[in-house]
């Protein structure tokens, strides 16, 4: 096996004094033709910077290679040290030898050019095609990435396509250049799980058919397990462990790798659900939702007359007992967040009943949001942040209140001197703990957790989940836990509701729903979850699209029909299964 790429002692720094502020501190690896290397690490580990150094795009982000070499074997067999190459020869390396796909499909395509023009450009630059030939080639490329109506879609602008579609357009651009090495930098992180599965399947197929070597970068070791031959684990700019995929996963040598493998939420198909708190039907629910409907009218034309509406939530019903966790899972646009916000009164319900039992305080339902950076006012110190709920409910900021703040801060694992600090002085995980403490200030009965751990690194995520479970026992809280992540939900939920296109399609005991999913969407969702246990799994490419939620004015969906699948397990009957 001759090395296509050989990286030796790579060091990369940023800023005025790159030597002093190094982000990559001596990384080495070899990659053979047609092989796939997975680079795994948490945010700030230097994995993306390593990738961007290989085609020297890091230069444009203010980075500088301060040491080491990156030797690439070019298509004519001559070696080229990328670290010493000048910009004019790098232009030919980029695209032709090394293609790249990025994390953010929403911003990675130029908004003012059609996708056709952008794919054709790749053909023009790297294959010398022009005019009609380039257009035809672009259409074929779109066909290959399974974009329907390719000929027509060539004239679309990026904003007219969904995230998954845009990522496929990016892949089509790579196909156009036919590189020998593809660098995929967190290509599916911004996508839903089922879409992620489609993109992964596509990448695996291309790798097979075109014989491309690939560097696949991800924070998710489970995802990397599905595609890589070799794996490299990075932590603070260094490769702490590297080797064959199976060796690393089965016999991890470095402590950090072991930690990562433990922390990553393993999805166990319902075998790892919680055993505490069995449901007793006698208890009165703290939250009971019946036939909840939320619609957003679409304003169109001069007089903003309703031309229909978005059926964000359509006939949702569930109840939540004291001390229990109901996990609501679904993908973006499924209406799970809207339903949660409706429970809190943050969006107005078009129809339906939301009954909340009188609780320990005037506001028995509190919420923790997904983004810990957006949910804390950056201009207020922690004391003011924690005091706000109390002030809003007529309490005074006195020694007693401060005692409670200190107690809760200690309880969520933050130091006492936190009171005088500002949000930006905390890490993402600490901020989320702060948000939890704030939600507990009013001694609520129910806490709505809207993707509360999704923005956190896996190791932080695991600790916050443990904290949540502890707090649930200590304060007798009921959780409404909204998430797209099946593995996370499996760990915390007693019961699970699966939402799809604004409706609950399956609801019941967590173990039952996850171990014997009945609805076709639940099955698809579970099949799409990447896991270390399903190494080198072949995902089948299916291009199912979520149906449009825009309905004409006056449209009412047919009343749901339910089928009992177990003691506490109900499934919506599908029209044509």
């Amino acid at each position: 096996m001759s090395a296509l790429l050989s990286v030796q002692g790579l060091r990369v720094g940023f800023g005025r004094d790159p030597q002093r502020s190094e982000v990559v501190k001596g990384v080495s690896f070899d990659l053979g033709a047609g092989q796939t290397l997975g680079i795994v690490g948490e945010s700030g580990s230097g994995k993306s910077v390593t990738a961007l150094s290989i085609n020297r795009l890091v230069d444009f982000g203010g980075g500088r290679i301060t040491g080491g070499s990156i030797v690439l074997e070019r298509s004519d067999g001559t070696p080229l040290d990328v670290t010493k190459a000048d910009e004019s020869s790098l232009i030919h390396v980029r695209g032709r030898d090394i293609g790249m796909i990025f994390q953010e499909p929403m911003t990675s395509l130029n908004p003012v050019h059609t996708i056709g023009a952008q794919i054709e450009e790749a053909f023009r630059l790297n294959r010398g095609l022009s005019g009609r030939a380039a257009t035809l080639a672009a259409r074929d490329a779109l066909d290959r990435v399974r974009i329907p109506d390719a000929a027509q879609r060539l004239g679309y602008f990026p904003h007219q396509l969904s995230g998954g579609m845009r990522q496929r357009v990016m892949i089509a651009m790579v196909i156009a250049s036919n590189p020998r090495l593809l660098i995929a930098d967190e290509p599916t992180t911004a996508l839903d799980v089922t879409v992620q599965a489609q993109v992964m399947a596509l990448l695996a197929e291309l790798k097979r058919e075109m014989g491309m070597a690939m560097i696949f970068i991800s924070h998710d070791i489970g995802l990397v397990a599905g595609i890589a031959d070799e794996i490299m684990v990075m932590q603070s700019g260094q490769a702490v462990e590297q080797g064959r995929l199976n060796d690393v996963l089965d016999r991890p040598q470095h402590e950090y790798t072991r930690h990562l493998l433990e922390a990553v939420p393993h999805f166990n198909g319902g075998r790892a659900t919680r055993s505490d708190g069995k449901r007793t039907e006698a208890a009165t629910p703290v939250v009971a939702v019946d036939d909840l409907v939320v619609r957003f009218p679409i304003a169109r034309g001069l007089f903003r007359t309703g031309a229909g509406s978005v059926h964000a939530v359509d006939g949702v019903e569930f109840d939540l007992l004291p001390g229990e966790t109901l996990g609501i899972v679904g993908e973006s646009g499924s209406g799970k967040s809207t339903a949660a916000r409706a429970v809190l009164g943050l969006v107005k319900a078009t129809r339906g009943r939301i009954d909340i039992a009188a609780g320990r305080s005037r506001r028995p339902v509190q919420m923790v949001f997904q983004d810990p950076f957006s949910s804390l006012n950056p201009r207020l110190d922690v004391e003011s942040l924690l005091a706000e709920p109390a002030i809003a409910n007529g309490q005074r900021v006195d020694e007693k209140l401060r005692q409670r703040m200190m107690f809760l801060l200690g309880r969520v694992g933050l130091p006492d001197d936190a009171l005088r600090r500002y949000p930006h002085q905390f890490s993402g995980g600490q901020r989320q703990r702060l948000c939890i403490a704030r939600a507990l200030m009013l001694n609520p009965d129910v806490v709505v957790l809207d993707e509360a751990v999704s923005a956190l690194d896996v190791s932080v995520q695991a600790r916050v989940l443990d904290l949540l479970i502890d707090l649930q026992h200590e304060f007798g809280l009921a959780y409404l836990f909204i998430s797209h992540d099946m593995a996370v939900v499996e760990r915390i939920a007693h019961r699970i509701a699966v939402m799809y296109a604004g409706q609950i399609v399956e609801i019941g005991d967590a173990a039952a729903v996850l171990s014997s999913p009945q609805h076709s969407y639940t099955r698809r969702l579970i099949a799409a979850v990447p896991a270390i246990e399903r190494r080198q799994a072949r995902f089948t490419i299916d291009a199912t699209q979520v149906p449009s939620l825009v309905r004409p004015a006056g449209f009412e969906p047919a009343p749901p029909q339910w089928r009992e699948a177990g003691a506490d397990h109900r499934v919506r009957v599908e029209a044509n299964p």
């Binding site: 444009f60 232009i91 980029r94």
Partner: protein, 319 residues
Amino acid sequence: MNYLTQRLATFPLILLGVSVLVFVSIRLIPGDAITAMLGTEAGLLTPDQRASLAAYFGIDQPIYLQYGRWLVGLFSGDLGISVTYGRPVLAVILERFPLTLELALLSMVIALCVGIPAGVLAATRNEGPADLGIRVLAMLGQSTPSFVVGLVIIFVLSVVFGAVPPMGIFTPIYVNPLVNLSQLIFPAITLGFAFAASVTRISRSAMLDVLSDDYVRTARSKGASARSVIWRHAFPNALIPVVTLSGIEFGYLLGGAVIVEQIFALPGIGRLVLDAISQRDYALVEGCVLFIALNFLIVNLLVDLAYAALDPRIRLGGR
């Protein structure tokens, strides 16, 4: 809702607002309406003459009826009679307006032709000597009022070169383009000076923003050349804020024309307004203000069209 239809829908609304504001403003002038209309000559009128004039002009009627009549008059091009000129206001304005329009457009062309290349150059040489030089010049340019530029130009021309710039006369472009240009070029430079500086600054910062965008990185990863990255991928996106600025600045140009025409003694609509204010020729003030505001609004509507042409997200609407 579609951006363009929204702009088109609010256009007449704003126009109506502008007309109300101008109408009410002029009626707020202390003293009665006859004085407002006739200026100092009103003092010569007998009470009988006043009464019949009031009846003739309809100003004995309630204000909203007066506004209605005035508005109907506007639609037939009737802006009243200028006391100083003894002619219809619209005729006087149309005679003076071509100069101001040409002046504003010329200075806009100068500003864009200087500012955009300078801004792009500075952005691509970020933190280099060319960038620093351009930034210092742009900063100074933005801080120099047009009347200072104008006076310096006159000073340099007359004291240093002994050549007095042409003043007080205007040859329309269709009579003699060369003479026309020689009369307008210095006023246009004066007026466009600060504008060129702000175009430079906004082009530079827009270009810098765009150059760090993800799609520029995508273009580079495809192997696009530096020139293609700048002009094909970054520039069309950076142009969007420049176009927005141009629309807003056109208003400053029309306003600035008041000062520049005063300095170079040009018979444009800016001078006309000033004279009308000092002559207390209120019908003329009213007409000029309305006319300039209308032009500003039309230019901004054109800017919105240009905006849509540049940005498919606006042209085709969001998802």
